[in-house]
Symmetry: C2
Subunit: 387 residues, 2 copies
Amino acid sequence: MTIVNEYRPVEIYFGEGAVKKAGEVGRRFGFKALIVTGRKSTKVSGALDKLTKSLDEHGIRYVIYDEITPNPTDKQVNKGADIAVREKVDFIIGIGGGSVLDAAKAISIVSSNEGYAWDYVRYPEGSRLIPYLNRPVITIPTTAGTGSEVNRYSVLTNPMTKEKMVISHSLNYPKVALVDPELTYTMSPELTAITGFDALMHALESLTNKRENFIAEEYAIKAAELIAKWLPVAYEEPENKKARRYMSYAAMLAGIAIDHLGVALIHAMEHPVSGHYPDVAHAEGLSALSTYITAFNYKGNPEKYALFAKLMGEEEKPHRAVDALVKFIERFNLPKTLEELGVEKEKLERLAEDVYMCGRTAFAVNPVEVDMDAVYELYERAYEGKL
Amino acid sequence: MTIVNEYRPVEIYFGEGAVKKAGEVGRRFGFKALIVTGRKSTKVSGALDKLTKSLDEHGIRYVIYDEITPNPTDKQVNKGADIAVREKVDFIIGIGGGSVLDAAKAISIVSSNEGYAWDYVRYPEGSRLIPYLNRPVITIPTTAGTGSEVNRYSVLTNPMTKEKMVISHSLNYPKVALVDPELTYTMSPELTAITGFDALMHALESLTNKRENFIAEEYAIKAAELIAKWLPVAYEEPENKKARRYMSYAAMLAGIAIDHLGVALIHAMEHPVSGHYPDVAHAEGLSALSTYITAFNYKGNPEKYALFAKLMGEEEKPHRAVDALVKFIERFNLPKTLEELGVEKEKLERLAEDVYMCGRTAFAVNPVEVDMDAVYELYERAYEGKL
């Protein structure tokens, strides 16, 4: 066995009502917060009110920056960082889905250091920026999917170049995650399914890629098992306490798994899709690509794909992983092809080129060797629905 | 469900050869280390040589302080802190069993702050000392039992008063744990068994006490399961790679479990024993007390004791937890009574008083209500071997 690393610097509060901890936890970091959120859902659902009530009770002032969209841009981050600096906030709270949490973390980096958001994508670890000088971040997920609440990743899109790239740096860890399953009760069945699928892809890709870390793999295994068992229940019964709890927990575990093990080709090939088509949600892209890529990948790590199939309730055979995904996507009515998502056939070549530009880290760990032709062919299959 | 907290600030490198990471990791913290260790075993086993070789390769100078004994004293810590200050070391490395790791962590606190070691037992959390001003600590366990490598506890004895008390503070976390199962290969079967029993008691008490934390409880469950399976193998085959690996892993998990959930009456009643009889190893005391206290406790949390029994390979019934321990102690020839350990009968009353002085935290979470009479009676039973 190689030496494995486990590093989990994010303090977690998990449970129904955890959002109410925001004021108490915030007081560790200061007296004024920037709340980062999206335009609508946290207001409609009441999540934002719960948060501000807790801050009020602890005498914490706040400024709300509510302009984060799905597939958040570097410009949105830069603007948030400007506000953080101008308003002299002590810390940052992200409340929302993955896009919001990704943005909140990046706003901390940009507001506490030199430069702009895009300077920090692929920023190397070694440069010894000093984490405790950063504005601390509290993450409060309102979906059960992203895992961003507990890891070092922020995926940002540059709308000028259509590039979608990742900040992956220890500076980018939040300090505290408040994981409150109650905040997910208001998700529609559709949103429940698609965000749950995101978490499932984190579990699948971290488990099956070439990296090895038996500790983190256990998180991925546990996550896949819980999603297979509880997503159907959360989908049918939005207020089923146990189902929501286990989905929030699974998403968090999968987020920790990818923090240690990274992802692979499904993610690498998805990023250009939602990069060029910002109306496509990340997890929709994952869904439309996942079966074709899994059919291509499973021979590279038969043991782990067989395990994944078993966790999903299928026979423990590598190729059953594909069947498991097909059924899963069918059951929750998730996207099956790129065409459905509005991707244009003539764009496929450009997407393939972008994978080469932006997705090389995931490439290196993919269970099967990939080249440009293979990527293009997989896009074609995913476009045409040819398994 | 209550809101549970998970905080795991210690970075872990786990695997055969992890000790060789010391130089590379140490360079994050500076150029001169204080190595804290015991008088003999790390020298004989070659563990200390592996460590210093790695430091040499990375140009890190070091001073060795090798005076830590089992049941380490506050005076040993104060002396180590003096050396750390005088020698202007940048960081501290503890290499050894639980006593050494406990001492190394406390040396960091005392050498980086005001006062003496004994000022920090029961030191309250709220006082906001600043962790990053502390000398960073690297822990390198050479046994598989203590779990001290990953948690905030240091158990110290004051030889003047015979008190045995605990530093439990977030300042007391090591920065990095290098958990290298190879360093445990040289343990005798006896030491393997007794230190493994220590880890098992961490799992048992964290799982069954009144505190609840489903995340941390999973660590305790996993630890108990692994110990039941792999301690017999490690006991028979000292160089069985898998057995040693899983025992090191289990001890670490159990150490994380008690960090979140604390212990209970077995630990509270053991501390006065090895406090008054410093030649008694902590885990020997645990062994001599465990069956009697479990027989007293199991009705307070029948579900969890039944689970523990099952994890140990017994029928899933609460009282089977006692049987499991009896068999376990028998199998590994561990101490069965206080009398065997040289405890004097006329001391039992004093021990019971000391539990009241020093053990109240564990009291409060014990599955069953305890009073002075109950403690005395349990000591009597453990003395006489009356289950």
